[in-house]
């Protein structure tokens, strides 16, 4: 019963400092989000509208991608398609090779994490430097992001101060957040100055105008997409919306749901490389459209809702499991509730299917999701796909692979008993009568709890004396 996931969880639950860091951060994020939506009815209206925008885009996905490609191409942006992360990495590499680039500077991009781009490039001797402050911090410590919006959220100020002191011994030790930030600014400014290629993610792609939209606060996204002479954007095929008018409502609900900001400092809309006469901006802009399992998710009318996600992270911020185990426990690029539905579908239920189990289905995630993804329903569906026998009826990768003989037999027995009331009730009556003989050590349950106490007699027995009808 011990999996890699459970071992990691056990280790992380035993780190009170990390748990405290997550608690503090998530409490703040939940409060700030709530402050942004004082009118509950208005929030529900906005969620429905945002869901409709995303659902509409998905319903026309292939057509919108073609329109997007045509408009981007017309605007001078080069579009590349990748079925796998390997292909996406190769596309990035070939662009770098064409420009003889030995380094890239990166704005925040979860899809590049999905691609494992940094490792891929570093193995080839190409430096991939993260410039988002949080990403910069964790890259120094050779860690992966623990949150999709706030990648260094698992660390506190003291830990970051020590890390900076270790990596930059020439700079005086400080725990002051402003000073730490200025240190990063100085170091990265030199990198922005010199970097030949910048890489970024994308928040929305507008088919109608051929525009790539980026949401950020720091300005590193603007730097990465403006200062170097080549800009490569990488993103998933699902990120397209139909028209420019779809963008304002999505932007508004994204920033408010994510960090409780009415808007971020920068909203950067890129529709082309430098035009003749313009004095800055990249000479080349590339877009890499990554599938990596998304088209397979797309093929299922129920699971399709997964692709509505706008990556705000609100589900993560509100998840009682995530806040306790932290982002690294998941062992995946996307943690938390969205990760628990997305990652098993991408990698297969045999690989990450346990994540679908790591939820109480409490629904805190779907309650805040700005595009109303029914996360608990999808978790339930993935649990079903994991153990179902008619695997021909689902496209989910690894379906049926989580079925074990012993578990299947247990449920079969249970179902048999629960469909034979006479025997079932004889059993429960017997159990209450001889409850003194039942074990008090029930393994997992009794580590922190007493064994459940059976009643003296069942409700069925007591109901007989209650003057109720039994027809």
């Amino acid at each position: 019963m011990s999996s890699e996931f459970r071992n990691t969880v056990r280790a992380n639950l035993a780190k009170p400092e990390v748990r405290a860091n997550f608690y503090r951060a998530m409490d703040g994020l939940m409060t700030r989000r709530l402050d942004q939506f004082p009118d509950k009815a208005e929030l529900e209206r906005l969620r429905t509208q945002s869901m409709a925008i995303r659902a509409n885009a998905l319903s026309k996905l292939p057509e919108l991608l073609e329109t997007l490609e045509a408009n981007l191409t017309r605007n001078g942006i080069q579009v590349h398609w990748a079925e796998t992360t390997d292909q996406a990495n190769q596309i990035v590499l070939s662009i770098l090779q064409k420009h003889n680039a030995k380094s890239i500077i990166k704005g925040k991009s979860m899809v590049s994490e999905e691609m494992g781009l940094n490792h891929f490039l570093e193995a080839l001797g190409i430096e991939a430097l993260e410039s988002d402050l949080g990403e910069f911090i964790i890259q120094l410590d050779h860690e992966a992001p623990s949150h999709i919006i706030m990648p260094a959220i698992h660390k506190n100020r003291i830990q970051i101060a020590k890390l900076f002191h270790e990596k930059f011994p020439d700079i005086p030790y400080t725990e002051d957040v402003d000073e730490l930030t200025q240190t990063a600014r100085r170091i990265l400014r030199d990198k922005f100055y010199a970097a030949p290629v910048g890489l970024s993610g994308v928040n929305f792609m507008v088919a109608e105008t051929g525009t790539l939209c980026l949401v950020e606060n720091e300005g590193n996204g603007r730097m990465s997409t403006t200062a170097p002479s080549v800009h490569i954007a990488v993103t998933g095929i699902e990120k397209v919306v139909e028209s420019l008018s779809d963008v304002p409502p999505l932007l508004s609900i994204l920033t408010r749901s994510a960090t409780g900001q009415p808007i971020t400092t920068y909203f950067n809309m890129i529709s082309g490389p430098r035009k003749p006469g313009e004095k800055d901006g990249p000479e080349e802009v590339h877009l890499v459209l990554l599938d990596n399992g998304r088209s397979n998710i797309y093929s299922d009318p129920e699971l399709l809702a997964t692709l509505r996600c706008i990556r705000c992270g609100a589900c993560i911020n509100h998840c009682p499991v995530y806040v306790r185990i932290g982002g690294h426990s998941y062992g995946t690029v996307y943690p938390g509730p969205i990760g628990s539905i997305l990652e098993p579908q991408k990698a297969g239920l045999d690989v990450h299917g346990e994540l679908a189990q790591a939820s109480t289905l409490c629904g805190a995630c779907s309650e805040v999701c700005p595009v109303r993804i029914p996360i608990p329903s999808i978790l339930n569906r993935l649990r079903y796909d994991g153990v179902r026998r008619d695997t021909a009826n689902t496209n989910t990768v690894g379906s049926g692979k989580r079925r074990t003989l012993s578990e299947a037999a247990t449920w079969k027995t249970w179902a048999w008993a629960a469909t034979h009331p006479t025997i079932y009730h004889a059993g429960s009556t017997l159990a209450t009568r001889f409850k003194g003989m039942l074990p008090t050590n029930l393994g997992a349950w009794t580590t922190v709890r007493s064994a459940p106490k059976l009643a003296e007699s069942t409700l069925h027995q007591q109901a007989k004396n209650l003057g109720v009808d039994h027809e």
């Binding site: 289905l361 649990r383 009331p421 409700l459």
Partner: protein
């Protein structure tokens, strides 16, 4: 259905049957006291939720199908649990979609009420508190809150009791970590969640913990019992029946 019915079906749930029969008895007595006849179909076993949430849909369906047959009359079905009510109301239509008994499942689903919802919205029950002053913490199950949307009902019932003072605990909206088979499949996470919940409830210093969900009570109560010095816990039905004088009222 806002008008008071003459008769209702009562579905006790498997957990109440074995662990908390007093909650079921009190719930039926509260309904009877309001002048409504109660039918308790004796062949009832389990709504099928454990298998449904574990992915064993065929098994869940066979058990659920056995329950469908128990409620032939067009009268409400009252359930003293948010999660079992949610199973029947929300998930039966999903579970039976495309099945021959789809219409029957939809009909059953449409008649399901969670107990507190039924007491407040249908019976418009009036309660007169006869008990000594007491402080309580209220834990609402996630299914009652988010799936059934009835979290306010338990509060309004308790609000009618003049000598009962509700004390809010920290992170009240957060799950207690039960999650059915989750507690056994991911015991470490579940333990971390329930221990936090216990701490928050203990910090209020209340005399009693009240919930509309026996699964949560078994979880939180079990953790408190293991620590020793447990705060007594009760299902809302049992508490209401006790406070309002039982049959004497």
């Amino acid at each position: 259905m806002a008008t008071k019915p003459d008769t209702i079906y009562f579905f006790g749930t498997c957990l109440v049957d074995l662990m908390y029969p007093q909650a079921g008895v009190s719930a039926m007595q509260l309904i009877q006291r309001a002048g409504v006849k109660v039918i308790f179909p004796p062949a009832q076993t389990c709504c099928g939720q454990p298998a449904w949430n574990s992915g064993y849909r065929d098994e869940a369906r066979s058990v659920a199908r056995a329950q469908l047959a128990l409620f032939p009359k067009p009268i409400p079905i009252v359930i003293p649990s948010g999660s079992c009510a949610g199973m029947m109301k929300v998930h039966y239509p999903e579970l039976f979609a495309g099945q021959p008994d789809e219409a029957q499942a939809a009909d059953v689903a449409s008649r399901v009420y969670e107990l507190t919802e039924f007491l407040v919205d249908v019976l418009h029950i009036e309660l007169h508190d006869l008990g000594e002053p007491v402080t309580v913490a209220v834990h609402t199950s996630c299914s009652a809150r988010r799936e059934m949307g009835v979290a306010d009902k338990i509060e309004s019932l308790l609000g009618q009791l003049s000598n009962v003072q509700r004390v809010e605990h920290a992170r009240k909206l957060e799950c207690c970590g039960f999650g059915g088979t989750f507690a056994v499949k991911e015991p470490e996470i579940s333990a971390a969640m329930v221990l936090d919940k216990v701490t928050h409830i203990r910090n209020t210093g209340v005399d009693r913990l009240i919930s509309q969900e026996c699964g949560c009570l078994m979880n939180i109560g079990g953790a408190m019992a293991k620590q020793g010095d447990a705060i007594p816990h009760q299902h809302i039905a049992e508490f209401l029946w006790e406070r309002t004088g039982g049959n004497a009222a």
